[in-house]
Symmetry: C2
Subunit: 345 residues, 2 copies
Amino acid sequence: MGGDHGPSVVIPAVARAIAVLPGSVRFLLHGDEAAIAAELSKHGGVAGRVEVRHSDRVVGMDEKPAQALRRSKGTSMWNAVEAVREGQAVAAVSAGNTGALMAISKLILRMAVDMERPALVASMPTPRGVTTFLDVGANIDCDAERLVEFAIMGEAFHRAAHGVPRPTVGLLNVGSEEMKGHEEVREANRVLREGKIDLDYKGFVEGDDITRGAVDVIVTDGFTGNVALKSMEGAARFVTAELRGALSGGVFASLGALLARPALLKFRERLSPPPTAPFLGLNGIVLKCHGGATVRDFAVAIRVAVDLARSNFTAEIERNMRRLPDALAEPMAEPAAEVVQGADE
Amino acid sequence: MGGDHGPSVVIPAVARAIAVLPGSVRFLLHGDEAAIAAELSKHGGVAGRVEVRHSDRVVGMDEKPAQALRRSKGTSMWNAVEAVREGQAVAAVSAGNTGALMAISKLILRMAVDMERPALVASMPTPRGVTTFLDVGANIDCDAERLVEFAIMGEAFHRAAHGVPRPTVGLLNVGSEEMKGHEEVREANRVLREGKIDLDYKGFVEGDDITRGAVDVIVTDGFTGNVALKSMEGAARFVTAELRGALSGGVFASLGALLARPALLKFRERLSPPPTAPFLGLNGIVLKCHGGATVRDFAVAIRVAVDLARSNFTAEIERNMRRLPDALAEPMAEPAAEVVQGADE
């Protein structure tokens, strides 16, 4: 029921996903029975693969998380997450209210790791594919342990979602040398460098590496990640608006823009926001699809949910999490070193 | 002598600046006498407004700041900053090694405020002008007091550099509500909100407000600021590269790109990096011009230096800094409030 379009996007997306997914994948659709039935009637072949679970109420898109949580029991969102806890579903996908979905998921499924809230992942386009970037806003204060947990979860997610056997991992900082940055990031770097956690850690990366695709997974705290994500969205919006301005000034430029229109449309599509943000760190798989999701976007989110559910994602995370206490133990003697915290130019 | 081009950019830039500046503005040129003389001979009318101060040595562009500092006495960079301390010059402008210029400036001029290093300012283009954004990498760990100091300095800089009588100021956060963000940013928000510091504070802003121009001055710690700046540069580079790719695929798109070429060139110029980064918090005015600066860029930096030197910039900063201890004092009773740190969607 969530997102800007509700069943009129979700049902066609299910139809689209069904066309490419194996017959064993089935769907529970939570929400208003009549509205769902009306959409299902337009998509033959879908009804046999879905089961409709009626709910009278929905979580509003503009409700505050705390307020939504108090009255969320029995809503379509609550029921979808509850079905994951009960083992009736292996994953929940929603285009609804992000804060409410996060609060409900945390309450029902509980955290598998010791974090404030599930980590939010952004998938950033790069010339060679996608960078998995986390946390983009859920956990504001992060110590070294938290950052290493993000690395473990982000790496397993990237492998499951993108089929990369051994994703490379970087830690976001203001320079590439070991002495750069604040204490939390330098300590997380030490832990990841020492190799007791099983992942391909490449060291520090910088802000421009996110869209360069220098590594597959980039880890940072939720404050920095949220600011970086929104800064990049703003910069991309500014650049395209400036471009539009430039291409509408004068006859030649306008004619040029007209001729280049299909190319420019493809370009805009390439820059559209990533359709899926998984919540990592829960006992269960929950994916958030952005509110303005199209049929294609929601179908992508469904496919990612299926990929995650069929992968060893959860077991891989657990295996590395068990290595964490040993990896976090202080080394016998810390080498004395000059600390140069500031950024390179 | 600094930057990628040395006197072949600096001298023509001085010539360009002289053409628009009043006759009272004079220049001390520090560096290799012969190289400077050779350039001066190409620009009639400049010699009468400059005085050449010979130095045998220069700071290399690739030297580490600590290493450069040890052997910097007597270099052109050292002499330029020393002339500010001695009152022979009102401002120093350099396109040389950023870290070395910062270290030398701090050593010679000393900090006027209690900070690790001078704050680095970026000037970001927006649809309505420029956002002054600081700190973009010098001070990594920032408490509330430091953030308020950045607000005071950034506001005075923006007024002096851009002629805006009363610049608006925002604090970078992950959401606009008072409960958002970590303790430092919430405490700085309280101090600025209470109005004991004389500036037009607008509250929290988010990452995309930097290029939107929501306020004139945006304040953050050096870690977040550096990551945001480089993330935006990366995003802008990615978008323009994608665009180039889109416009070279196929005959129509290529023809379109050809017709739109002048518009696209203007567009690229609009996105070129800001030419000038002032170092704020020193007892004296020092401006860094980026290493690849063109004649136009360096001339802009000179004009900004002159604007700063003629403004009440320093006095305005001092006046607000004196208000700081009173503004930082804890209120009598802190109202109990639910803390919701995480980001909005």
